[in-house]
Every structure is written in C-alpha cells, then in structure tokens.
Symmetry: C2
Subunit: 353 residues, 2 copies
C-alpha cells in the first residue's frame, strides 16, 4: 500500500528521513561528549522513544505527567520532567511515577520545592531536582545566579529531595549568552558548596552548536526527529529534505482561478504561524500559498502562472510547527519511499495535565 | 465536588449558561419561522446534540464524515454534512452512513456531484444534495447565481441524487448581501424549473439577525452553545456572562514581578487569535494578559498595579475560539454553580477525515 492510498488529511512520517535525523544527532552529541535526552513532546509515541534510546539516548524528557505516565507504562524508566509540579493531585501522581521509574523534575520557586519535598518525604522517596534557570527565553526559570544558588541550597536541605543540577530552555541564537548564564549559576552553586552533576540544555534550534557552549552535560532536543518549516525557514536546523513528517491533503474545492481549498485546516495543521507567512509548505507546489485556515479548510492562494489545482488532487504539506501537529493526530503513518510500513497511535497525545 | 477540585488544565462548562444559550436560540428561531440545525463541531458531544434536538432542533450539522459516524452511532439520524466529499474511501463511508441515517450533503463543483452520483446510484440510494453558494466568506461555494443554477440542474439530472436546495456559510456582518445572493441563486434555480426546498444559512455571528434575511429556511449556528471571547469582543453574540465554557488553569511560575506562567498553553487553548490581542480572558483577573502561548505554558503579563499572582493560584479562562478548544480536550466537565454534575467525553474530537 502506498501513502497516496491513505485517506486525507493524515500525517505521514518518512522513516528513512526520521532515522537519519536521529542518528546524525546522536553521533554529533556523542562526539561532543554531551548526553542526548530527547524531548518526546514532538512525537508522543513510545515506539519512537524506544528507538531513540536504542540509538544511544541517556533517557527521555517529558513535559507533562500524563506523557511520563504513558512512557513508564511503555517500559521507559529514565525520565526528566521539565515542568513545575504544583498541587496535590499532581504531586500524588508524581509519587506514583517515582515508585516505578527513575524520575527527575525541575523547580523554579520555593513553593514548588516545598511541595515536592513534602510529597516525597512522606512517601519515603528521594527525588532528584534541577533548578530551572532563565537564560533569555522569558518563560519559566529562576532569574540570576545568586537566586539559582539559593534555590539549589533549599533543594539540598529539603527532606525527600536531592539537588541534581541546572536546566534551561534557551532562546534561539544565544549560545554564548546561555552558556555564560549557566556558568554563572554553576559557579554560584559551587561557591555555596553544592555539586552540580547535571547541566541540561535544550532545543533543536542551535542543537548543532551545542559543542560551542562547553558547559552542558546533556541536551534535550525534541523537534530534531521530524523537523518542520519553522526550523528550515529560520535556518535553525536542516533543510526541507530533513523534514520527515508531512500532512497529506486533498483539493476539495476550486471556487475561482486564484484559489482552491484543501481538506487540511487548523484541526490537522494547527494555526501556529511561529512568525512565518502561510500555514505550511506544499511540497508538490511550493508556489501555492496556504493563506488562511479554518478548522477543516485550508485556503490556498494560487498565484498567476502556477499549476492549476484539480479537485481530488493530493498534496503533502510540511507544517510550520510539527509538535502541535502530533498533538492533533491520533495516529501517525510511517512509510519508506512512499510505501506504508506501519502506523503508531500517538499514545501521549492530548496529555495536558 | 467543586470545579475548583478538578486538576488543571481542564475545560468546564456551566450547564445553566449553556442551556440558556440553547433555549434562547431555539425560541428566537421558532419565532422567526426558521428551523434550527445546530452545528455540532463546537461541542462534538452526542449528549449535547441530543439536548439540542430535544429542545426543538430539526437535525444536526456535521463538518466531517467522522463526526457524522459518531453521531449516527449515538442515535442521531437527521444530519447535514456541509463538506465536499471527495475520493472513493470517503464516498464509501458516506454510502454506509446513508444506509443508516437521513444524510444530506453539499457540493460546489461538477466533480463532487459526479462522485456522489456514481456512489449513490451504485448503492441504490437517493441522496439529497444542496449547492454550496459563495456569499462573501471566500471559502468553498459556487460563485454567481447562474453557476449555482447550472450545478443544481446537474444534481437534479444525476442518478442517485436529489436537488434539495442551497447552503452557505456567510461572512460576518453581511446579512443583506448574503440574503441578496441567496435570493439571486434561488431565483435562477426557479427559472431553471427547479424547486428549492431548503435554504440553509449558518454561523453564530449574525444569528440574532436571521429574521432580517427573510429567505433562509434553516440556520446552522455552532458556537452559540458555548460562546467565546471572539464573539464577545467583536460584538457578534452576547456578553461574557453568556460564555459557558472556561479553561481552568493554575499559576505554576512567577519568575518576575511583571509576569507569571500558567499551565494552559496552546495544547489546551489553541493558538487561534482570530484577530484579537491576547490568548483568552482571565475571568478572575481580566487585567492580566495572556501575551503568548507555548504548548504547555501560558505567558501572562501582569501590568503595574494588578493583583500579584501566587504560585498554585487557580484561574479560569474564556478562550478566544471555543470550537478548537473542544477539539483539544478529551473530556468536558459539566457543572452548575461551580459544583460538578457530570463529564462528557468529546466523542467526535479529532475526527478530521
């Protein structure tokens, strides 16, 4: 069966391209002496996480407890959860996971540290915790080296917790600044008498500049497995030939000469623009522009001189942001050279808690 | 159990508000002599579709075959599918549905009509078909009254099909123009000797101006059941008190005085802006601004003088676009006065084919 026999819209991964992405990254980080801890939020598929581990990854990175629960059930036990765990319901789930797997989490405030400590101490467990450091992304993370060291000391003193090190999610194209802030934070921890066993950096953008930083002990790329239009267009990672996942779609309407409608809308591509113009690259007709999305309609502008769309014609689209596409599709079809090989349910899809 | 005992992020519907929205719409359209055919894409929940029918709706509107399959399995049999059905796999599914339910579909091209005719004729069925008319929304739809009449004649002549009437999805705030185009199209059909039994208009924006148009025989609003920030801010429908669905979230980080992070990101709110600034309204603190979303993080700007966020604090958010929120959440919690009553699985969630 060919991928063109699949009904549309659907998400299809080329396994040859995907495996090359995985091997290239593992080989590069091996050479740089940096451990690979892939973020599974991009694929959310236990089979692909196992493949990453077989190729040499140290463990995996999850963002939500629900993702970690799926991966532990699938037999994966070395998990870093890079999210502040807040509230008793979630702390109880974390305790249940820590009984079964080698869990590590992050924290960026005394409130989060104290909640973790209370839950782990009562459960008779010791949980390794990294301090999340703000290095420019302006999301979570402790601001300033002294504050990082103070929170690290609080972790080290807290029953039920072990201070493991530092973690950050960096801003793109700030390799030197990120390294400088992590170095300041590490040095402040050293001055406070603390070991810093792990320094965990992240992101697929700047992945292949990880050796320049010279401080991280592990890297947590996610999108490198599939890649997407945003990474290519911002020159952050690879080219279009390295994009392993495409959303297949069908032309369902051609109301006028200069436009047609495809059956992939925001329910299959998401509405994430990530600063780009257009909602994805149509591989067969890059000159066609996906100008807007409704939920079930892709509004395609066909410029003068471009090929004329035919109703029933199939196209395949490299999405702007592939992680959110994984979260929309219940199933990912896997193929080689256009021939169907297997499908995988996206087992950790929609795990928002 | 109170809704504030639910873990976050989660989607909670206030049934009193929702039922008031449903009754108000049914009563208004009853008074205007227009049939109500609610679009279930907003809720995707069979229980709510049955409630709409019990309150007086003529039937339901689905966008995708997968949604219709869920609704037929739940015992609902009067279904208008407002999407061009293209390709043999989908035509076979439509035949299977038409054997079990009173299906009606739309078409806007000879290719779609011929595909429907071939499939239905071979199955020994007669399928009612409406011509989708372009009336300003620039999505699908035949452009121009003469072209509408020509396609209607093709349907009327096609074995296995019955020409039922006209359908449009209108542009907001163009009630008179939409009515004028539908009138021209109807008159052209009449001149061609065709009956036009049904004229189906849609949309929650302008819902309460349906009586002004004076031509549609039925209306297909979807979002009116929950409403959302987009409808309120564009003054298209009701106020914030009419918004029945909120996404509950928790403050998980407060890295600086002027910002905090909540655990609702694009995976629970979607990244749809619909032209608005900010990614939803925080009911408890409307002065806080959801300035950006990552997948699992809501980046909240806290302006000077606003209340200080506490880590662990709960907030509830009226989303920009509620239909896409339904598609992200596997389950909707239903409450009255803040007290949990039931939950419903979003059975037609993610049905993109």
């Amino acid at each position: 069966m060919l991928v063109t026999d699949l009904d549309t819209p659907c998400a299809v991964v080329d396994l040859d391209v995907m495996e090359a992405n995985l091997r290239r990254c593992q080989s590069y980080l091996d050479g740089a002496g940096i451990a690979l801890r892939p973020h599974i939020k991009t694929h959310k598929i236990p089979e692909f996480a196992h493949l990453q581990l077989r190729l040499g990854a140290r463990g995996i990175n999850c963002q939500k407890l629900g993702e970690a629960e799926v991966m532990v059930e699938a037999g994966i036990t070395d998990i870093l959860l890079t999210y502040n765990i807040v509230g008793q319901v979630k702390l109880d789930r974390l305790v249940a996971l820590a009984h079964r797997a080698d869990m590590k989490v992050v924290a960026d405030s005394p409130e989060v540290v104290d909640g973790l400590s209370d839950a782990m101490h009562r459960a008779g467990l010791i949980l390794p915790v990294l301090v999340e450091c703000e290095t420019g992304a302006q999301r979570c993370g402790v601001v300033g080296a002294d504050a990082v060291a103070a929170l690290a000391q609080r972790i080290a003193r807290s029953p039920g917790l072990h201070f493991l090190g530092l973690m950050t999610y960096p801003r793109f194209n700030t390799v030197a600044e990120t390294a400088a802030r992590l170095t300041e934070a590490r040095d402040a921890c050293h001055r406070a008498g603390l070991d810093v066993e792990v320094i965990s950096n992240g992101g697929t953008p700047d992945l292949y500049r990880a050796h320049e930083a010279g401080i991280a002990t592990e890297h947590r790329p996610g999108t490198y497995i599939y890649s997407d239009r945003s990474l290519v267009e911002t020159k952050a990672y690879g080219g279009y030939d390295d994009c392993a996942l495409r959303v297949h779609a069908t032309v369902v309407s051609r109301p006028a000469q200069d436009r047609c409608v495809i059956d992939a809308g925001s329910k299959s591509l998401s509405s994430d623009l990530l600063g780009l113009t257009g909602h994805g690259r149509i591989v067969e007709h890059p000159e066609w522009q996906i100008a807007a999305l409704s939920e079930e309609h892709g509004h395609v502008h066909v410029p003068p001189g471009a090929a004329t769309p035919r109703i029933g014609e199939r196209v395949s689209i490299i999405p702007n942001h592939v992680c959110v596409v994984s979260n929309l599709h219940g199933r990912i079809h896997a193929a080689r050279g256009g021939r169907m090989e297997i499908y995988h349910d996206v087992a950790a899809r929609g795990k928002m808690q």
